[in-house]
Amino acid sequence: MNSVILSAGIRVLIPLFFLFSLYLLFRGHNAPGGGFVAGLVASTGFALYAINYGAERTRRRFKLKPIFLIALGLLLAVVSGLIPIIAGETYKTGLWLEEIEIPIMGKPGTPILFDIGVYLLVGGTVLKIIFSLWEE
């Protein structure tokens, strides 16, 4: 699989995958998409890279620490629920910045933060699994 064209292709593909995943992530609240799907797409990019260059190299090249991603994603998901408590609401109550309207995404709010947590975790999980299997 170590063909030059593929290598070059993957180099280009990674940022593309990454951008596409972000797009999916942020449009998720209003159209099909969301953190989970986005996370899968992002990790697929890195997985392709890993298939070509090996897991070790992928890890070093992008400074990826899957367990760290998993932990961070979980933390973000939990914290997104804690913010409303500080504001005196129930856990996980959605807080929105109603005045701001961002293209694609719509209004920013804690549920979006939660979705980002999902995104990170899913990416971390898939990478962790693929790396573990690949290195064996």
């Binding site: 609240h29 969301g34 799907v37 899957p66 996980k92 959605g94 549920p111 999980t125 573990s132």
Partner: protein
């Protein structure tokens, strides 16, 4: 030794109450323990309790003194004494409790502590076996007793014995009466070693002798008798009560005495005579007349005095000579005069010779058997035989050990130290004193008999009743007994030749039961837990099928109204394709094909989602499907050749189970969807998603907002799965190799 002070103090305190209790007072104190369950720690000191409490503390003090010397130099004596004191306390609790459940608690505690006492020589296999036997039988009976007592409590509407005895009539009317009675009788029979549960008692002789003297003569084994006496105001007169106690008591009495005279081991002789004595007590309770109750109360005391004494003596003999075999022992009186004297006195009491206390007891027993309305001759002759054999046994215990033939011992015996002699001496002296001055104990025994038989006439103990039938019978018994002893003494061979076939012994039945239980356990376990995963799965699926079919049989098979106009060609194509793919995963000859077919099924599912308006689902399904296939390929390409196992008939059976399962699920889906569904959630989500959830994709809004807790759980699952997969693949016990994260 110091420990002996505790029971001695308790004994002293009891003696201070002696006067008032004998006068008919009842001392009680109560503390609510678990009122929710109707359990209190209430204590009640009346005549019957007093009698037992005095025995427990008095003999307890003597035994502890004795054991201090006896156990010297043996291992783990601290644990031994701990158990012994625990036993003493629980026994005391048992006879003082008024609440039937706290009584039961102490009852079980005596079983528990005696388990450790019997198993004292636990490194010896026989000892462990005996301890276990005693535990299982008494605890097994305990379970019956528990049920019986609860039934009694339910029927009588109270858990207090003092209340229950007054509600005898009310109880008799409740439907639980007979069951309660039977269960309580079973419990008492196991504890008091009645036929056919008697065999644990002789085996329990594996315990150190002080334990036997204490538990197996004076206290624990009498607990059953005590309880029967306690509840007899409730059950006296009920159908079956008399018959059961009479028959089993009688059998136990005669059998015990018969086996006793065939033994050669001192402790075994004592054990079997104890069994016999317990049988006598149960029988007397079974007779249940006023005089019989009196006889029972008297005999409890008489027996405790002489049997405790004899056990202690057996211990001394064993301790000083190293043997308990009456064939080897003989003419010890010269070396052990004090022990010998005590033994003779105790044996005379056992044989029922005046002026000892045992004589009074025997007189009363005869009086009660003669006074029976029915079956008097049979009972009287049973008692006659027993009495005769008791005389013989007494002879074996005293004459053969301390006089008779020259001993065949290797060591030269000598008298025991004073601490060990104190016990038997005191008990022997009491046997004489109470016999001659029976007035001393008369008020207490009178009270005790009143407790058991409330309308009993006052007791008036006398040594001399004049020449009457009882006396004649007593004397005849004595003569016959001496003759029997002579027979045993001069025909040792003959006695040892009498062998009872193992197979008719209850102990054999016990062994068989336990063995077959173990066998059953093994068979059942191997059957349900045979190690084959597919059997487990089919058990699960099969259970579901059976249960679901039972429920479904009430529903018809729903009508299928196929509206062909609604059909689109690709629906059918997708459906058929999925089923075919599913079929191919089953029959595929190569792993890769199976996985590819799995992929087809997965994409088909995604397509169904698209058709029914679930784009998010479809997207996720497709991605996941791809990932799963990739994972499969990554994982499986290293596995060896795909094996197809031919299972023939079994395969067919599994096919049937699967087909049935599939059919049931189809049925259920059709059944449920045939009813209309009005989901208020659906409309609410449709209306609230954008205004409240700020999102146009309702599914996503539900996922990240309305039901974000589910999603949080979902990602935790993923995270853990990743950690787990990493652990599965990378697990290493090497410590130094630092893994990259």
């Amino acid at each position: 030794m110091v420990l002996a002070l505790y029971p001695a103090a308790a004994f002293a305190w009891l003696m201070t109450q002696f006067g008032s209790v004998s006068g008919g007072e009842v001392i009680s104190s109560s503390w609510d323990w678990v009122p929710t369950m109707g359990i209190s720690l209430s204590f009640h000191l009346d005549g019957l309790s007093m009698l037992f409490a005095l025995l427990i503390t008095g003999i307890g003090a003597l035994v502890l003194t004795y054991a201090g010397t006896y156990m010297k130099g043996m291992p783990k004596t601290d644990r031994f004494f701990m158990s012994l004191v625990l036993f003493m306390a629980s026994m005391l609790g048992l006879v003082l409790s008024d609440n039937i459940i706290s009584l039961f608690i102490f009852w079980e505690l005596t079983s528990f502590s005696s388990y450790f006492l019997i198993g004292y020589h636990h490194e010896d296999k026989e000892s462990r076996k005996s301890a276990l036997e005693a535990l299982l039988i008494t605890a097994g009976g305990g379970l019956a007793l528990l049920a019986g007592l609860i039934l009694l409590g339910i029927g009588g509407g109270s858990m207090e014995m003092s209340q229950l005895v007054q509600r005898g009539d009310e109880l008799a009317e409740s439907g639980l009466f007979t069951a309660a009675m039977l269960l309580i009788i079973i419990g008492c029979f196991t504890k008091s070693a009645q036929f056919p549960f008697h065999f644990w008692l002789p085996s329990a002789m594996a315990a150190p002798t002080p334990v036997s003297a204490y538990l197996h003569s004076a206290t624990m084994v009498k607990a059953g008798v005590y309880l029967l006496a306690r509840v007899s105001p409730v059950f006296n007169g009920a159908d079956g009560w008399h018959a059961l106690l009479l028959i089993f008591g009688g059998i136990t009495m005669v059998l015990g005495a018969l086996i006793a005279v065939m033994q050669t081991d001192l402790k075994k002789i004592l054990a079997y005579t104890t069994v016999s004595a317990l049988g006598l007590l149960v029988m007397l309770l079974g007779i249940g007349t006023g005089i019989a109750i009196k006889a029972a109360v008297i005999f409890i005391l008489a027996h405790a005095l002489y049997k405790g004494c004899l056990f202690l003596i057996a211990g001394i003999v064993d301790h000083e000579t190293g043997s308990r075999n009456i064939r080897k022992l003989g003419r010890l009186f010269k070396q052990m005069p004090v022990t010998g004297t005590a033994a003779v006195v105790a044996c005379l009491s056992m044989a029922g010779i005046p002026p000892l206390f045992g004589f009074i007891s025997k007189e009363y027993s005869y009086e009660s058997t003669i006074g029976m309305v029915v079956n008097s001759p049979l009972t009287t002759s049973a008692f006659f035989i027993t009495g005769m054999l008791f005389v013989a046994a007494a002879g074996m215990l005293s004459y053969m050990v301390f006089f008779g033939r020259r001993n065949k011992l290797d060591i030269k015996p000598h008298e025991a130290p004073i601490t060990m002699l104190a016990g038997p001496a005191v008990l022997a002296v009491l046997s004489i004193v109470l016999g001659v001055f029976s007035g001393l104990i008369n008020p207490l025994l009178d009270q005790a008999s009143q407790v058991v038989f409330p309308e009993n006439e006052p007791l008036n103990l006398k040594l001399w009743h004049g020449i009457n039938t009882e006396l004649i019978l007593s004397m005849t018994t004595l003569v016959a007994g001496i003759a029997a002893f002579a027979f045993v003494y001069y025909n040792p061979r003959l006695m040892s030749m009498i062998e009872i076939s193992d197979k008719i012994k209850p102990s054999y039945a016990y062994k068989q039961t336990m063995d077959s239980l173990a066998e059953l356990a093994k068979n059942v376990t191997q059957r349900v837990q045979n190690g084959y995963l597919r059997v487990y799965i089919s058990m699960m699926v099969g259970t579901f099928c059976v249960l679901a079919l039972i429920v479904l049989k009430d529903f018809g098979i729903p009508n299928i109204e196929v509206l062909w106009s609604d059909f689109r060609v690709y629906d059918i194509v997708i459906g058929v394709l999925m089923i075919v793919a599913c079929f191919y995963t089953v029959v595929a000859k190569s792993r890769l094909l199976a996985i590819a077919m799995l992929g087809v099924v997965g994409y088909g599912v995604a397509f169904v989602f698209i058709i029914f308006g679930a784009p998010d689902l479809a997207m996720t399904q497709i991605l996941i499907e791809t990932l799963t296939v990739v994972l499969f390929v990554l994982v499986l390409w290293k596995l060896p050749h795909y094996l197809i196992f031919d299972e023939g008939f079994i395969k067919f059976r599994y096919f049937l189970v699967s087909a049935l399962f599939g059919a049931i699920m189809t049925w259920i889906v059709m059944l449920i969807t045939s009813y209309p569904l009005d989901s208020h959630l659906k409309t609410w989500f449709a209306e609230s998603s954008y205004p409240l959830g700020m999102g146009r994709n309702v599914v996503n809004v539900i996922l990240v907002d309305f039901r974000s807790l589910d999603t949080l759980g979902e990602i935790v699952v993923l995270g853990i799965a990743a950690v787990g997969i990493y652990g599965l693949i990378k697990f290493t016990t090497e410590d130094d190799k630092e893994e990259a994260i």
